[in-house]
Amino acid sequence: MLKKGIIYGINGPVIYLKGNTGFKMSEMVLVGEEKLVGEVIALTKDTTTIQVFEETTGLKPGEEVVATGDAICVTLGPGIISNIFDGIERPLDRIKDSQGAFISRGISVDSLDMEKKWDVTLKVKEGELVEGGTIIATTVETTAIVHKSMVPPNISGTVTFVAPNGEYTLKDTLVIVTDTAGVEHPIGLMQKWPIRVPRPTKNRYPASMPLITGQRILDTLFPIAKGGTASIPGGFGTGKTMTQHQLAKWCDADIIVYIGCGERGNEMTQVLEDFSKLVDPKSGNPLMARTTLIANTSNMPVAAREASIYTGITLAEYYRDMGYHVAIMADSTSRWAEALRELSGRLEEMPAEEGFPAYLASRLSKFYERAGYMENLNHTKGSVSIIGAVSPQGGDFSEPVTQNTKRFVRCFWALDKALAYARHFPAINWLTSYSEYLTDLAPWYRENVGENFITCRNQILALLNEESKLNEIVKLIGSDVLPDDQKLVLEISKVIRLGFVQQNAYHPSDTYVPLEKQLKMMQIILYLYTKCKELISYNLPISTLREQGIFEKITSIKYDVPNDQLQLLDGYLEQIDEFYTTVKNQYI
């Protein structure tokens, strides 16, 4: 018998029921005649408090609330990739088909298409022993992804029935597993999992592989590992979303989960349009064939916004369990934190810093700890990397969400207003950003890219640091009084800033840059620096070096050398030698 309660009070998205209803914490409930989806968030002897994931306008005291017996769950199965969902995994395109352009309330649609037939290949035999995570069947989900259906984590036993290969819907039973107690568990393409509970794994590996993004400042200066966590804080207009889009487009994860949490509707439309058109350079498949979108825009109900982050990470963990590398873009975690604050305020909880609830830090840590490079229950390896945007109030990084996030992530890509105002993108500030993964990943770079990759990287960063120190002086007394070797540092740093760190997302050969080219570019710039230093040591003024136009030439390598003609890069070393001899012969 389903438990029921009666609405007593309504305050925005929070409703109260009178008396001890017997509901469980975090249980999913259906509210009122329209059956709005809600979740139990507090229980006392006299009151049950529920947050409602939809607009509560028009609800009346006295209406019924029915418990479902389950926690808020997502449906896992083929059909997730290439789809777009709201914060509680309702498919937006089918809502559009049934409701029109605007989203109304109390919509009851299945998360995944229950009628669609999938071509399934069975992977187990009768009599086989299986446990949680064992892959029982595969089906081609999109051109890029093979979906592997698994035994749910809490079931193990002997296979007593296997369906033949063929076409099945999500509702069909493929395998029956009988456990030691003799209970039969039918297993199909679909399973459910509560969003607030991490899916179990066997083991956690240390970070050892980078998530290659094709963005120079990230791959080279502040790399993130597969299974790592990063945060991108920045005030409005500094390019958080743009950076997230670039990562979602070009990073070498197998699957992207893009969570638009409390952000703009038009941005999600843009992702949908762009990703359907763009082609993954590595596989040749459309980007949408490896992407799933969760769109809970800022004007959609606030409680569902809070849930959307968890929905996203649960989907990611499910694909990780199949052995894929998954990357999550959460844009923006601040909106999620604000949803927490909003609901906390409605519950009249004691506010902590800036009105955020005191449990903000523990919620953040729980979320980021779900990332990792794991050995799954079925012994495959997979990872979930989380890249969370943070929108600090007033661009001030000392606010609680940024500060608490910083405690739990290992990569910090700080966006800078001044860089963004000068339209230097990505506006990641190289002085305040950091990556703790660098030492973990150094062996990988040495082995796979080049022996001196890390050395070059350190030199480049050191030059940029030197430049900022010199700029302090320049700000006070002008650059004319600097000695020529310091002027050279400024000149080379300008090449690094414009030619290397700055990257044009709209230029076909600059939007994504392979690691090989990144290394070569660094080497060329550093070689130019060495040669110029020599010339300067002969007491040549910097202006004579500038006249040769070599700095401009090196700066525009990023545009002039397409990614498929990297052999052109070798010519630049010769050009630097040529420049060196010309200047030397002319003046010395």
Partner: protein, 460 residues
Amino acid sequence: MAIEYLGLDEINGPLVVLDGVQNASFEEIIEITVDNKEKKLGRIVELYNEKAVVQVFEGTENMSLNNTKSRLTGHPMELDLSPEILGRVFNGIGQPLDGLSPIVPEQRVNVNGKPLNPVSREYPRNYIHTGISAIDGLTTLIRGQKLPIFSGNGLPHDQLAAQIVKQASLGDHSDEDFAIVFAAMGVKYDVADFFKRTFEESGAMDHVVMYLNLANDPVVERLITPKVALTAAEYLAFEKGMHILVILTDMTSFAEAMREVSSSKGEIPSRKGYPGYLYSELATIYERAGIVSGKNGSVTQIPILSMPNDDITHPIPDLTGYITEGQIVLERSLHQKAVYPPINVLPSLSRLMKDGIGKGFTREDHQDLANQLFSSYAKVGEARALASVIGEDELSPIDKKYLSFGEAFEKEFICQSVIENRSMMQTLDLGWKLLHILPREELDRIDTKILDQYYPKNEA
């Protein structure tokens, strides 16, 4: 027959409490008759069993615990709509102010609106020509965009908005239906009157709808005004296929009203005393701009907000900037230099610009040119800072060039008269003319091919 409830239980600022109501629903509208003559509307904002907390739109003056009769209307706040609303002036909750009769509704629509499904949106791509160089060239306005003007008290944001309206939507080139929905929230009488006169002078009044809640009008009414205006805008855009420009002024008063009502409800404040749902509430307003795929019309929003103490990090401009697709920031020091419009282009931004300009829309060099102007103008700031320390004479020749570029950029590019309507080509060519002040090597944001075309080597 509906039951009437006699008297009230409590009156506290704009809120009243009504006990013993039967069958009330959340956010339902209540009609309250005071002393058997004056009628007021209220909205249920909290509901505990038979006890309803009601926001009274017209204010609680003259109300006592005994002299009222309240009646549930059975529906949330609705607005009467028909094409006749064009040319009319209403108060903040949609009742006529111009002395004409109430309109005969073709539709009654819930003002709260519903979120637009991201799948049903069409990504905005058509630019709106405003004739203002700083906007057209550097922060291009796109049809279906929400682009606020961040201003301060005493800055000419009203003139700027009026100029945009005059030059953009009322251009003679278009055969498509244009209309303006104007919502005033807590603005001075003079401001509302200024807009009204401007619309009349430009002969546009017959396709303007005005919803006015002036500074001395009730605070609670202000909370519903933008929603009323946007409901009208959505109706005209998506039912009648018109292109609607919505001017919302002043969003700061709206947020202040929210804080006032929230505190009299005894809610827990978050930042600077504003309620925790300020972001969500602003979002439900701003996100109502856009284009619905498969429909002809569009809703473009230009909200105006005055930054308290010119502080862009204040919660209201801050949260707005996170929701809207860019911002146009007005700057007091430019205004003092008599630059009109005093747009500080560096913090200004149009997020949708990149997809609405360039080849096929404006000109292929537009994006590069804009990037270069931004980047060079940012360097002007550095040069000026240096000059203030070491004096202008000590500057290097290149820094001096940046100073003169900065002057020219402000005086010629940004500055224009209130009636000057520059074409897109004029704006772009002017940009190139100014860049010629700088040596060619300094232009590092422009593709070599474009540079060769507009700034050939021999000119350098």
